[in-house]
C-alpha cells in the first residue's frame, strides 16, 4: 500500500470515527482551555477544578443541593460549643494512587500546606492555631476565633484543601509538587499539552460515606482543551465530544434541534459584577457610587449581553430564588435606571467631570457588551466615561493596581458559601473597608447557627446594595452541551464525570 493510499484509508477511518464517535467507556469532554497545573491548591481557575476533582479529593465536598457532605472525612466534624475546635474523623482504608494508605499524618501535612499556599487557605490561616493528628484516623483543628465557613472552605474544589501523601509534599511553601498523587476515583495517565488530559479508572478506590457514590462508570475520561467556542459546538454536534463546557448561547437552538446532542442549561449559573475600586479615585465617594448604581439600566445591559431572556434574569439579590441565602433585603436600590437621580447625586458629590474608568476585556464578550450599554447610561447621567478595553492578561495585571481603574467587570458562579465571595472582604483588591460592613461580616463568619447566619447575610446584602460595595448586574445562565444518551452528569459549573455513561452511542 502506498503512502497516498494509506492516507486515503486514514481519511476513511477518520470519517468512520466520526460516524461512530464515542467508545462506550470513554468520555471525551471539551473544556475551554488547558489546566496549567494539576495541583488545585495553588489555582483558583475553574478549569483546574473541573479536571482535578476526578483524581484528588478533599475532606468534604458539596452535594447536588450545595450542602456540605463528607468525602475523605468519615463524618461531619464534631465542633466544640465555642466553635473553636473541630475534630474530624477520617475514613479508614482509603488508598492513594501510589498504593499507600491515607492517614491523619497525610491530612495534617496537606492542610498545613493549604494554609500556606492556597488563596482560600491563606484567608483563614491566621484564625487557625493548630492542626494536629490526634489519632491514626483523626485530626483536630483548633481555631483562635470561631469561623463558620471553615467547612465550606475545606469542601471547595477551587484553591482546594486536597489531601496528598505527606511524602510528596514539598519541604518549603515555595516548592511545587513534582507529581500529583491523589485518592480520587480516576488517576492521571497521560497529559499532552494543549491536546488532552487522559484519566483512567483507579481500581483501588473506596466509596465515600457521605457524598454520593463515584460509580467510576467510564474506563477513561479525556479532557480536551478547545479554546474556540465554535469548535466546541461543532465537536459536540458531530459526536466527537460527549460533553462540551461553556458554549455560546447563540448555539442553543442548533444544539436543541440536533439528534446527536442536547443543550444543558445551568439556570442560573452566576452573576456578572462591576467590581468597584474603594481604594482610590472617584468611586471612593459614596454619592458617586450611588450615582453609578442609579444610572445603570441592568435589564438593558443583560439583554445586550445575552440577547435572549432565556439566558438571564434581572435580579439584584446576591443569591437567586431557590438558594438558602436568597433574600430581597436592599434590592430596592437595584435596576433604578434613573439617570436624572444619578445626575442629582453627581451634583451633590460635586463631580468635576473626571473620567470614570471602566476596565474590561473582550475575552468574555458579554462583559464588553454590558460595559457599552453602561457607558451610554452613565454618559446620559453626566459622567465622563473612559473605557479601557484590554486583553484578559492586561486586565488581570491592571486590576491589581488601584491607580488604573474605577470599575472592572468580572463574573462568578454562585458560590455555595457567601464567605467565599472575596469582594466582600476589605483585604480583597477592591478594598471595600466599610466598618459597619466589616462588623456584619465578622458576625456572619463567626456565627454557626444556619438560621442566624441567613439573617445576618440579609444585613450583609442590604449594606452591599446601600453602600454600593459591589454592583451585581443580574443572573445569567450558562450553556453546556452533552451527547444524546449521556447520563450521570449533574449540571454544574464544575461538572464531574465519574458517573457518566452513554446509554447509546451518538448517531
Amino acid at each position: 500500500m502506498t503512502r497516498f493510499t494509506r492516507l486515503l484509508a486514514s481519511v476513511a477511518a477518520s470519517a468512520f470515527v466520526i460516524a461512530t464517535p464515542l467508545a462506550a467507556e470513554t468520555i471525551d469532554v471539551a473544556i475551554i482551555g488547558e489546566a496549567d497545573t494539576f495541583d488545585p491548591m495553588i489555582s483558583t481557575k475553574d478549569v483546574v477544578s473541573i479536571v482535578t476533582q476526578h483524581f484528588v479529593e478533599t475532606l468534604y465536598t458539596f452535594d447536588d443541593s450545595w450542602s456540605v457532605v463528607p468525602l475523605l472525612a468519615a463524618d461531619m466534624p464534631a465542633i466544640s460549643e465555642d466553635g473553636l475546635t473541630y475534630v474530624i474523623a477520617l475514613r479508614e482504608g482509603v488508598s492513594f494512587h501510589d498504593g499507600s494508605g491515607m492517614d491523619s499524618a497525610d491530612v495534617a501535612a496537606s492542610l498545613t500546606r493549604w494554609l500556606e499556599v492556597a488563596s482560600r487557605g491563606k484567608s483563614v490561616a491566621e484564625k487557625v492555631s493548630s492542626i494536629e493528628a490526634t489519632g491514626p484516623y483523626e485530626i483536630t483543628l483548633t481555631l483562635n476565633e470561631a469561623y463558620a465557613p471553615l467547612i465550606s472552605l475545606l469542601a471547595f474544589s477551587n484553591s482546594a484543601a486536597v489531601v496528598y501523601p505527606e511524602e510528596i509534599l514539598p519541604e518549603t511553601s515555595n516548592g511545587e509538587l513534582e507529581q500529583v498523587i491523589g485518592t480520587g476515583p480516576y488517576m492521571l495517565k497521560a497529559h499532552e499539552v494543549d491536546q488532552y488530559t487522559q484519566l483512567v479508572r483507579f481500581d483501588g478506590y473506596t466509596q465515600p460515606t457521605g457524598a454520593s457514590a463515584r460509580q467510576q462508570r467510564p474506563d477513561e475520561i479525556r479532557f480536551i482543551p478547545v479554546p474556540d467556542t465554535n469548535t466546541r459546538v461543532e465537536g459536540l454536534l458531530s459526536g466527537q465530544f460527549a460533553y462540551a463546557d461553556s458554549l455560546s448561547t447563540e448555539a442553543f437552538d442548533r444544539i436543541e434541534a440536533s439528534d446527536i446532542a442536547q443543550p444543558v442549561l445551568l439556570e442560573p449559573f452566576g452573576w456578572p459584577m462591576f467590581a468597584i475600586n474603594h481604594k482610590k479615585g472617584l468611586m471612593t465617594d459614596l454619592k458617586i457610587r450611588q450615582a453609578v448604581q442609579a444610572a445603570l439600566p441592568f435589564d438593558d445591559m443583560l439583554f445586550a449581553a445575552f440577547g435572549n431572556d432565556k439566558f438571564f434574569q434581572t435580579d439584584g439579590a446576591l443569591y437567586p430564588e431557590g438558594w438558602a441565602w436568597h433574600t430581597e433585603a436592599g434590592t430596592g436600590a437595584y435596576n433604578q435606571n434613573d439617570q436624572q437621580k444619578a445626575a442629582a447625586l453627581l451634583k451633590e458629590a460635586g463631580y468635576d467631570g473626571t473620567a470614570l474608568r471602566i476596565l474590561t476585556s473582550r475575552q468574555y464578550e458579554f462583559h464588553y457588551q454590558m460595559a457599552e450599554v453602561a457607558r451610554m447610561a452613565l454618559e446620559m447621567a453626566g459622567f465622563t466615561v473612559e473605557m479601557d478595553v484590554v486583553d484578559w492578561a492586561t486586565l488581570a495585571q491592571n486590576r491589581d493596581n488601584p491607580d488604573l481603574w474605577d470599575i472592572y467587570i468580572t463574573h462568578s458562579p454562585f458560590l455555595p458559601e457567601p464567605a467565599l465571595i472575596s469582594s466582600l472582604f476589605a483585604s480583597a483588591r477592591e478594598g471595600w473597608d466599610n466598618p459597619e460592613k466589616n462588623a456584619i461580616l465578622e458576625r456572619f463568619t463567626s456565627e454557626s447557627d444556619p438560621d442566624a447566619r441567613r439573617a445576618i447575610f440579609a444585613q450583609l446584602q442590604q449594606i452591599t446594595l446601600e453602600d454600593v460595595g459591589l454592583i451585581k448586574v443580574g443572573n445569567f445562565n450558562a450553556l453546556q452541551g452533552k451527547a444524546t444518551g449521556l447520563e450521570g452528569v449533574h449540571p454544574s459549573p464544575w461538572p464531574a464525570f465519574w458517573n457518566a455513561h452513554l446509554a447509546r452511542p451518538a448517531q
Binding site: 492516507l7 477551587n158 469548535t231 488581570a396
Partner: protein, 313 residues
C-alpha cells in the same frame, strides 16, 4: 559558492540575534503579567508577587536579557512559565503538526494552482483564463477562518467525512494524526493557491512570449513539450520563490486555521503563549520562525542553481 554560503550563514546569525533581542524587549513591553494569569482570579497581589519572584520576573530586564542570551547561545531557550517544560521540548512537540500541515496544504495549493496557472497563461484572454483569475481573487479574498468554519460545519459536522478538530487522542498513530490534518490542509491550500496561481500565470505569460518558445514551436515541437518542458522550466524561479515563502508562512503562520481546527501546532502555541504571557515560549517561537524564514530563503536561492544553470553565486 563557499564564500556565498558563509556570508549567508553569518547573515542568518545576525538576523536571528536581532529577532531574539527584539522579541525579548517586545514581549516585556506588552502589559499583562504571567503570574496573575497562572494563579487565577482570586489570587491576592502578594501571591502574584511571590510567584513573580519564583519565576524570576522580578529581576531587572538587563539581568533577564543577559541570562536569556547566555542560555540561548547554549541552545537553551528557557522553560515555559505555563507548562514548566523546556521551550525546546514544547516547540518540538508542535513541529510535527505544523510542518505536515504546511506540506499538505502546499501540496493542495500546488495541485490547484499549477495546472490552472499554466492553462490560464496558455489560454490568455479566454473566458477560462478570466474565470480562473477571478476565482483566484475570490479564494485569496475569503479569509481562511471563514473557509475553515464552512468546511468544518459542512464536511465534518454535517457529512461526517472528517474529524472536526484535534490531532488524534491517546495512542493515535501517525496516519491517524495525518487524517486530522486533511480538512485544515484543504482550507489553507485553497487560500494559498491563489497567490501561486497568479505567479505561475504571470511567469508563464512572460516566458510564452519569448523568442526561444517561438523557435521551439517553429521547429515543430508539440505544444505540451513547448509549454511543460521549455516554458515551465524557465518560469520556475519566481514560482519557486513564492512556494518557498508560502511554505515558511504556512509553518509559522497558520494561526487562524490551527485555532479553528484546534491543532496543537506552532500557530496555536504562539497565540496561547501571547494570551498567557508565556515569555520564553513567545521568544522561542519567534526565533524558530525567524530561523525558518532565513533557511527557506537560503534553500530557495540554492534551488535557483538547480532550475537555472545560468545562475552563479
Amino acid at each position: 559558492m563557499r564564500r556565498y554560503l558563509i556570508k549567508r550563514l553569518i547573515g542568518m546569525i545576525v538576523v536571528i540575534f536581532l529577532v531574539l533581542s527584539i522579541a525579548f524587549v517586545l514581549v516585556r513591553l506588552a502589559p499583562g503579567d504571567p503570574a496573575s494569569l497562572m494563579l487565577g482570579p482570586d489570587a491576592t497581589p502578594g501571591e502574584v508577587q511571590d510567584l513573580r519572584v519564583r519565576l524570576g520576573l522580578d529581576r531587572s530586564i538587563i539581568v533577564q536579557y543577559a541570562t536569556f542570551l547566555g542560555n540561548a547561545l547554549r541552545g537553551d531557550l528557557g522553560t515555559s512559565l505555563f507548562f514548566d517544560q523546556p521551550v525546546t521540548q514544547v516547540l518540538a512537540a508542535r513541529a510535527e503538526p505544523s510542518i505536515f500541515l504546511a506540506l499538505m496544504s502546499l501540496a493542495v495549493a500546488l495541485l490547484i494552482a499549477a495546472p490552472i496557472g499554466i492553462w490560464a497563461a496558455y489560454r490568455r484572454g479566454s473566458l477560462g483564463d478570466q474565470m480562473s483569475v477571478s476565482t483566484a481573487m475570490l479564494a485569496a479574498s475569503v479569509p481562511s477562518f471563514l473557509t475553515g468554519l464552512i468546511f468544518q460545519r459542512v464536511l465534518a459536522t454535517d457529512l461526517g467525512w472528517f474529524p472536526v478538530s484535534g490531532y488524534g487522542g491517546p495512542g493515535a498513530g501517525f496516519w491517524d494524526r495525518m487524517g486530522y490534518l486533511i480538512l485544515p490542509a484543504i482550507t489553507l491550500g485553497i487560500t494559498n493557491s491563489a497567490l501561486i496561481l497568479r505567479f505561475t500565470r504571470a511567469s508563464m505569460l512572460d516566458i510564452l512570449g519569448e523568442d526561444y518558445v517561438r523557435t521551439a514551436r517553429a521547429k515543430g515541437m508539440s505544444e505540451a513539450r513547448v509549454v511543460l518542458r521549455h516554458a515551465l522550466k524557465n518560469a520556475g524561479i519566481p514560482i519557486i520563490t513564492v512556494i518557498g515563502l508560502t511554505f515558511a508562512l504556512l509553518v509559522s503562520g497558520a494561526v487562524v486555521t490551527e485555532r479553528v481546527f484546534n491543532l496543537p501546532g506552532m500557530g496555536n502555541l504562539v497565540v496561547n503563549a501571547v494570551l498567557r504571557r508565556d515569555y520564553p515560549v513567545i521568544q522561542g517561537t519567534l526565533i524558530v520562525v525567524a530561523a525558518l524564514y532565513v533557511l527557506v530563503n537560503l534553500v530557495t536561492d540554492l534551488l535557483y542553481l538547480v532550475v537555472d544553470k545560468r545562475v552563479k553565486y
